[in-house]
């Protein structure tokens, strides 16, 4: 880091972030993957549900890079369409979980006393609740619409975020700048949004980035169990299910989607770990 030059904490965090080659590679991979999933289907010569029953299941070939499934659908195209949905669910469900968790945690931490213990007891109860039952009931209530699945997943994934944010607010709320704000008459919500929110943002980014792969796993699991995205629509969970069912005969049907899914989870985990090292001053610097 260049000494002397004044830099905001965000700029120096960015510099720490891009110091490792693995992190840069992971960021580039995710950017490339998002671009591929968003734009790729426009350039594909096949639709996601175009069937070619003469073809049936064929192994990877120059015409079909990842092979075709028993209905003769091009797997590469389906992986890209599935990626759109899996990534979208990952981002939106994380956003839902973060918004609920941050507001809940900030209110609990700042209000303190009875409100705090009541709110956090409720979180304790939900922690002891089998989340799969929760998600299934929510999916049943909302119907199996793909755009509502992220609400269901977001509604169960906010607990850790709420605990982390509350802890951070507890540490912040007795500092001088909050006392000063109180002294000039700032109200509860003013302190919450103008003074607490900017200060918990770092830790929120860390946990949100670690939530994305978790949420994508949850979506894949739901779709794998037939409770998430419904065929013929594709998500990586749906494709992995179809691949697992046909693994003994058509192994490429699992290998293609599985590789994309695992590589994405790997990249997202590397980025999350790197963000924690870059943004959290307490973590061990090497």
């Amino acid at each position: 880091m260049s000494a002397g030059a004044p830099s905001s904490p965000w700029v120096s965090a960015w510099r720490r972030l891009v110091r490792h080659r693995a992190t840069v590679a992971a960021i580039l991979f995710v950017v490339f993957l998002v671009a591929l999933c968003v734009c790729g289907p426009w350039f594909s010569s096949y639709g996601q549900n175009d069937q070619d029953l003469n073809l049936k299941a064929t192994s990877p070939s120059p015409a079909h890079w990842f092979g075709t499934d028993p209905l003769g659908r091009d797997l590469a195209t389906r992986i890209l369409y599935g990626g759109r949905i899996s990534l979208l669910v990952g981002i939106l469900a994380t956003a839902v979980a973060s918004v609920i968790g941050v507001i809940y945690g900030m209110i609990a931490g700042l209000a303190g006393k009875r409100t705090d213990s009541a709110l956090m007891r409720f979180v304790d109860v939900l922690y002891a609740f089998p989340f799969i039952t929760f998600v299934i009931i929510l999916v049943v209530v909302f119907g199996r619409e793909f755009w509502l699945i992220f609400v269901a997943i977001g509604a169960v994934e906010w607990l850790t975020m709420a605990r982390v944010v509350r802890g951070q607010v507890l540490a912040l709320k007795n500092l001088e700048f909050v006392t000063a704000a109180r002294a000039y008459g700032a109200g509860f919500w003013h302190i919450l949004f103008r003074h607490m929110l900017p200060n918990v943002l770092g830790i929120v980014i860390i946990y949100a980035s670690l939530t994305v792969p978790g949420v994508m796993l949850l979506e894949a699991m739901l779709s794998f169990l037939g409770l998430g995205i419904q065929p013929p629509d594709a998500s990586w969970g749906v494709l992995i299910r179809e691949g697992a069912d046909n693994l003994a005969v058509y192994p490429w049907m699992l290998i293609g989607p599985g590789l994309f899914f695992s590589a994405t989870l790997l990249a997202l985990n590397i980025i999350g770990d790197a963000l924690r090292d870059a943004l959290d001053p307490k973590s061990i610097q090497d």
Partner: protein, 306 residues
């Protein structure tokens, strides 16, 4: 310590009660009912059926009756389980889930702890990078990919085990391997973090200065404290494993407990869904209490706080 145990038990009872209430209310808010998939019958017969199971009463009376039933082990009958109580369903699935969960935990510990220890002793060197890369790879291979691959390799190709089903005495091996490999990754990361933090503390330096060898410091002093994060993680994980992993049970066609968590909610089997949720909550509360007790014994500085 008696006070600690008492207050935690009371807390735990409230948590289980809360879980029962939430499950009941959520199931009631969901559209449909236990009779929706049955043959259509005359309205007065349906009314008799509903009255038999108490569904004609207001919801809060039903809830109170259910809670009283669970509290006195006098479990409510379910229209979805003819001639069978919810406790029998759980008693059937639980030993099967346990037979997979315990070896899975042992595999996870046997891989995870050594991997994490090696990584922590050589920070930022080849051993550390390699061990953590392996752990991250394990985390990124979800059970729905790893399970079928293991089943394919050891079941269909090598024919060492059955690829699916619950018939032979060794059918636990593949599911336990799938779960153990995935959980070992989390344990390796937690062991590494805990051990690195412990090794940086003063009492370790003192022990080293007094001439204790690295091995004796690691095994006699450090690992005891370093395993606290692992222990914290093991509490809820054990409860989750004992109630069955739904994905692994689906992949290997195992009649464990996990399937009921999905099936009961989908089929509107209110009584079984509540029983499963309560059983899970009970295990979570129990194992968290156990973890806190072991923690207090391992690290007197933590002590018994409620």
């Amino acid at each position: 310590m008696i006070r600690f145990l008492l207050s935690r038990t009371v807390q735990g009872i409230f948590v289980v009660l809360g879980v029962l209430c939430i499950t009941f209310l959520l199931l009631r808010l969901a559209p449909g009912g236990p009779f929706q998939s049955e043959r259509a019958v005359e309205p007065h017969i349906r009314a008799r059926q509903e009255a038999h199971y108490g569904y004609d009463k207001p919801w809060f009376i039903q809830l109170a009756r259910h809670i009283a039933g669970f509290a006195t082990f006098n479990f409510p009958p379910s229209p979805k389980l003819k001639g069978m109580g919810v406790e029998e369903v759980i008693a059937q699935g639980f030993p099967i889930s346990t037979a997979i969960a315990i070896p899975a935990l042992l595999i996870a510990l046997l891989i995870g702890v050594p991997l994490g220890t090696i990584a922590a002793l050589r920070p930022n060197q080849l051993e550390d990078r390699g061990a953590m890369l392996l752990a991250t790879l394990f985390i990124c291979t979800p059970s729905m990919v790893l399970g079928p691959l293991l089943g394919m390799l050891f079941g269909l190709r090598l024919r060492w085990f059955n690829a699916s089903g619950w018939y032979s005495a060794d059918d636990w091996v593949l599911p336990a391997m799938t779960l153990g490999i995935i959980y070992s990754a989390y344990i390796a990361r937690l062991t590494r973090g805990g051990l690195r933090e412990t090794l940086a503390q003063d009492f370790i330096r003192t022990a080293r200065a007094k001439g204790a060898s690295l091995a004796s410091v690691v095994f006699r002093h450090a690992l005891k404290l370093a395993c606290l994060p692992v222990l914290n993680y093991l509490g809820p994980t054990t409860a989750g494993l004992l109630t069955g992993s739904i994905v692994v049970e689906t992949v290997f066609q195992i009649p464990g407990l996990g399937q009921h968590f999905v099936g009961a909610a989908v089929n509107r089997n209110y009584e079984l869904a509540m029983a499963c949720a309560a059983f899970y909550a009970l295990l979570i509360v129990g194992f968290n209490l156990l973890v806190d007790l072991i923690q207090a014994i391992l690290n007197p500085r933590i002590g018994f706080r409620s």
